[in-house]
């Protein structure tokens, strides 16, 4: 046990060895770097082309994200049955982001560097997207992000097939002010999307003559809403604008009903509750409340009829579709169309070709805006029915041009 001294006694020899090692690995590093530059961005040899499917299959976000994976895999299967893209079959590589943001970054890196995926479809939370963004920018990869989000972003390596705020939140606030009341109570989970969205809503309320009755945030996963509901009762708003996330919605709506507040007393409009979430909350509780989306399972288009039928056939009669599921499905088709137009899987070529690409989506035609890589989408508001489906009460008539930075709205000046 004379340990320490002996330990350091060999220092000199070891130092020499390490110096040699350092030199060696330095050489290796520079050669690796050179290799890296010659490497093609996507592995397109052979009869197949690889794409990544990266969603949380475990952890707290799995409740929402598993269905997106299903929709993406279904679209890939359909395209493959139709002959594939540029004559190649699409080979999906499924990875689990595990509701953990560094895991999303790690798996994205793996899909780009090891599998050389031509495109990756994935993400749900803003945090997962923000974690993946630098990976895609540094490796010049292509991420298709299918969920509505808070805007204020436009990465050259991401295509956004979900709604940005001016395609969902802004029109719904206007609609509420015109039809339901002026006094708003904002509730949301304590994270980036609700806080950013509410900042925009407050600016809009001020500009369009609404009033703010209150604004409250609860931690993610919060399940006791009794105190929040007493606050709401005290303020007596006409409208509750709800940006709660996931499980909290279940607790909030159940407890709101118990407190004796129904849709007739106060209208609740939600932006994170689609058909699948309705089933997890219970239709009896939600009937009469509203949600703003770009697509409902009941949206009346021939494409949607086929989409809903094949989704149910593939995954079971009891499954329902919904806005993010549709946006995930669209993403695959939009990518395939852009590849066909570009005649190549090369990321830069696909990006250059993507502007103006149109797809007859289940929720109406969507078009990629070449400037900000978002899509034109039709805004819709639906009322929840007793069968758990939406009855559309308003739509924007035509697809709305995406405006992630709200540049065309005078009241949004100074928000960014």
């Amino acid at each position: 046990m004379t340990g320490i001294k002996k330990f350091w006694g060999r220092q000199t020899i070891i130092a020499a060895v390490s110096a040699a090692a350092l030199a060696l690995s330095g050489c290796a590093a520079s050669s690796a770097l050179n290799e890296g530059e010659e490497k093609p961005a996507a592995d397109t040899g052979g009869d197949t082309v690889k794409v990544g499917v990266l969603h949380s299959l475990s952890g707290t976000m799995a409740i929402s994200e598993v269905s997106l994976r299903d929709a993406e895999l279904m679209a890939i299967e359909e395209i493959n049955a139709d002959g594939g893209v540029l004559g190649k079959q699409i080979e999906p590589i499924v990875e689990d982001g595990a509701s953990d943001w560094p895991t999303f970054a790690e798996k994205a890196k793996k899909l780009l560097q090891k599998d050389e995926a031509a495109a990756v479809f994935g993400g749900w939370t803003s945090a997962s997207r923000k974690a993946m963004l630098p990976v895609f920018e540094q490796n010049n990869g292509l991420l298709w992000y299918p969920v509505q989000y808070e805007g204020m972003e436009s990465s050259p390596n991401i295509f956004y097939t979900g709604a940005t705020t001016n395609q969902q939140i802004v029109p719904s606030v206007t609609w509420l002010l015109e039809n339901k009341g002026k006094s708003f109570f904002l509730i949301g989970s304590d994270y980036v999307f609700p806080r950013t969205a509410n900042k925009e809503i407050k600016a809009q309320l001020e500009a369009e003559g609404g009033t703010l009755a209150g604004e409250e945030y609860t931690p993610l996963g919060h399940t006791d809403y009794s105190t929040l509901i007493s606050k709401i009762k005290e303020k007596k708003p006409e409208v509750i604008y709800n940006t709660l996330n996931g499980d909290s919605n279940v607790a909030f709506f159940k407890q709101l009903k118990d407190a004796g507040i129904t849709a007739d007393d106060i209208t609740v409009l939600s932006v994170s509750i689609a058909e699948e979430e309705i089933r997890g909350i219970g239709t009896d509780i939600l009937t009469g409340h509203y949600a703003a989306w770009n697509y409902f399972q009941t949206t009346d288009t021939p494409e949607n009829e086929k989409f809903v039928a094949s989704y149910k056939e593939a995954y079971g009669d009891d499954r329902v579709t919904g806005d993010p599921i549709e946006a995930a499905y669209n993403a695959v088709y939009l990518w395939a169309a852009a590849v066909e137009k570009a005649g190549s899987f090369e990321v830069d070529a696909v990006k250059a070709a993507a502007g103006g690409i149109e797809f007859k989506a289940p929720g109406g035609t969507v078009t990629i805006d070449g400037d900000n890589q978002h899509t034109y989408k039709t805004a819709r508001i639906g009322e929840i029915q007793a069968d758990g489906q939406f009855k559309e009460v308003w739509n924007s008539g035509e697809p709305v041009k995406p405006d992630p930075y709200l540049e065309t709205y005078p009241w949004a000046e100074g928000l960014n």
Binding site: V66, H222, G246, D247, A251, K254, D258, E277, G280, T283
Partner: protein, 300 residues
Amino acid sequence: MAVVFTQLFNGISLGSILLLIALGLAITFGLMNVINMAHGEFIMAGAYTTYVVQQAFSHYVPAALFDYYYIAAIPLSFLIGALLGFILEKTLIRFLYHRPLDSLLATWGVSLILQQAARSIFGAPNVAVTAPSWLDGGLTIAGAVFPYKRLFIIALAAVCMIALYLYLDKTAAGRKMRAVTLNRSMASSLGVSTKKVDAAAFAIGSGLAGIAGCALTILGPIGSTIGMYYIVDAFMIVILGGIGSLVGTVFGALSIGMLGTVAEFWTGASMAKVIVFAAIIAFLQFKPAGLLSARTRSLE
């Protein structure tokens, strides 16, 4: 004034929910000194049991009797929780009685497996349970609404608490359990089968978690990860109340419930959480053994 009453009630209600969650732990952790991280998953199992019972009633039982599914679900949730706990004790826990911190690590593995199992069986999205119609609505007194569901949970927590107290204090099996807790080797040498007592205690504690899961279905979400939301709170209540003291657990649950509600009313839900946990940390600095604890003269 109505707001004061409502908030007072909300505090008691939150306290009763926390008590239901923590009562099972008060036995497995408080009395047996096992850190069962899968306790939250037993809560989840109780919630899913309620869901299955409801599905079964809606398919096989006349519609007129549907509302009684909840009455059937409570004992069944207890049984499923107890069964899971019994299996866990027999296969894992009994080897770890002398290594409480190791029980924490092993049961963490169990909780990962149970969560994934639930996802594989019931699918990833949440499932819905329709509360029986006799729990709809609420009592209105002087402008304040007291929802029947919350009143029911307060009653359920009280019943569980009293039943547990009677079991531990008035029955032979319960007294044996307490004897084993106080002095294992002495109890053993007096002829108490510690193995049987251990298994029974663990099963009862886990069964109570099942009941908590059943109760939570009428207020909150039912999904594979709900156990995670409650597990830390439950442990905090037990150490705050004092390990080994059931009455302490009641005080712990009620004081956290009241403090949380008051703090949330004045600040917001996030800050309330910070205040509650900071208060627990500070309190334990002054009273490391908790609010009430079994007196002992031993040094370590």
